[in-house]
């Protein structure tokens, strides 16, 4: 895989193949990273920042990734962690934005939809982290149970169980 290695000095090898491999994954993973970040932050610019940071970190450590098929799972975990850190650090700003979004609703119908969205996100936020990640990943890009299991590195039965529990709790919170 690293045939076209370009030697630089004696201790390091810069590989063009590594860059090409990363570029191929960048295109397919950037949207996933953004959406995961958005599911946590619900702020487009913040989500882009976090997704960008996540992918840059992945680029820096890409040469250490032995199994390239695990790249998306790696990105999911990295982005999720970064987004949670970002949200913890900026929780007050998020609250201000939610209030602002509620106040900015132009008509009653749109306001009702916004209320519903706020309510939904509040319920999702109330889920434990493991359940929340499963709900988000199952809703992203048409991921089925198997895909979510591969992304999280857990058995499919675990994903099914978590998804069932998450939906049950959402029902309790939203009804």
């Amino acid at each position: 895989m690293h045939e076209q290695a370009e030697r630089v000095g004696g201790l390091f090898v810069v590989t063009d193949d590594l860059e090409r491999e990363f570029e191929a994954r960048l295109v397919e993973s950037s949207r996933l990273a953004f959406r995961i970040a958005y599911s946590v932050l619900r702020h487009r610019q913040d989500a882009e920042d976090v997704a960008q940071e996540s992918l840059v970190r992945a680029y820096r450590k890409f040469s250490r990734l032995r199994d390239l098929t695990r790249f998306r799972a790696w990105i999911v975990r990295l982005t999720w962690r970064l987004a949670l850190d970002r949200r913890r650090a900026d929780r007050r700003r998020l609250a201000r934005e939610l209030v602002h979004a509620q106040m900015a609703a132009p008509d009653s119908h749109e306001s009702e939809a916004r209320d519903r969205a706020v309510e939904l996100w509040a319920a999702i936020d109330a889920l434990p982290e493991k359940l929340r990640l499963v709900v988000v990943l199952a809703s992203l890009e048409g991921h089925d149970i198997g895909a979510v299991a591969r992304l999280l590195g857990v058995p499919q039965g675990t994903v099914k169980s978590r998804l069932f529990t998450a939906r049950k709790r959402l029902k309790e919170l939203l009804v």
């Binding site: 390091f12 960048l26 882009e48 997704a51 890409f62 996100w121 988000v136």
Partner: protein
């Protein structure tokens, strides 16, 4: 439709979540991301850990090879005598003729082991040489069969002989007397044997 009452609402929620998450990044996102990555140093395969690992392996092998001949501590080091008298590991210790004169394969009766595998290498002999000697002696049969205690004593003697030259002398009579008690004097009385004289036989006597 007789589905579970939860199903429609679950589907609604899934749709709501899907709709809530169906947010696309801005058009500039990928461009900004590529620009940011272009400013990063290029990904490298770091060879430093590999070099350190390989160097460590070579060093360990070298140390092992250097340590191998001198692994068995010289008896003089154990007994505290001067190492100069013994010599270095690569300089074999001169074995006194008393030890060298002993026939090599000696096995203990009942120990069940041949001298080639059971014997401690002669003191002062480097381990590599001892192993080579063991290989050489392996197929041979013991020439002398002795008891286990005798084997131990003989090995101790050989070790001592290798450690310091033996002074072999006749034991003084007093020492023998002290160790074994006074010699018993057996007095054998003189036996006088009289010559046999045949008795005279009278005529007419039937006895």
């Amino acid at each position: 439709m007789t589905g579970s009452p939860l199903e429609p609402r679950d589907i609604d929620w899934d749709r709501e979540i899907d709709a809530a998450l169906a947010v696309e990044p801005s058009h500039q996102f990928l461009g900004r991301l590529r620009a940011r990555i272009a400013g990063e140093p290029r990904p490298v395969l770091r060879r430093l850990p590999l070099i350190l690992f390989a160097g460590g392996g070579v060093l360990a092998a070298l140390l092992f090879a250097l340590r191998l001949p001198g692994t068995a501590p010289a008896p003089a080091e154990r007994s505290g005598t001067s190492p100069a008298a013994i010599g270095t590991a690569t300089q074999p210790v001169p074995v006194p003729h008393a030890a060298a004169a002993v026939p090599a394969p000696v096995a203990a009766i009942g120990s069940g082991v041949s001298p080639a595998t059971s014997g401690v290498p002669p003191a002062g002999m480097p381990r590599a040489r001892a192993q080579n000697r063991r290989h050489r002696l392996a197929p041979t049969e013991p020439e002398v069969l002795i008891s286990y205690s005798e084997q131990r004593a003989l090995q101790g003697l050989l070790r001592t002989a290798a450690r310091e030259p033996l002074k072999i002398s006749h034991a003084p009579f007093d020492a023998v007397q002290d160790s074994e008690g006074p010699p018993r004097v057996i007095v054998v009385p003189a036996i006088a044997i009289a010559p046999l004289v045949p008795e005279p036989v009278e005529e007419g006597d039937s006895k």
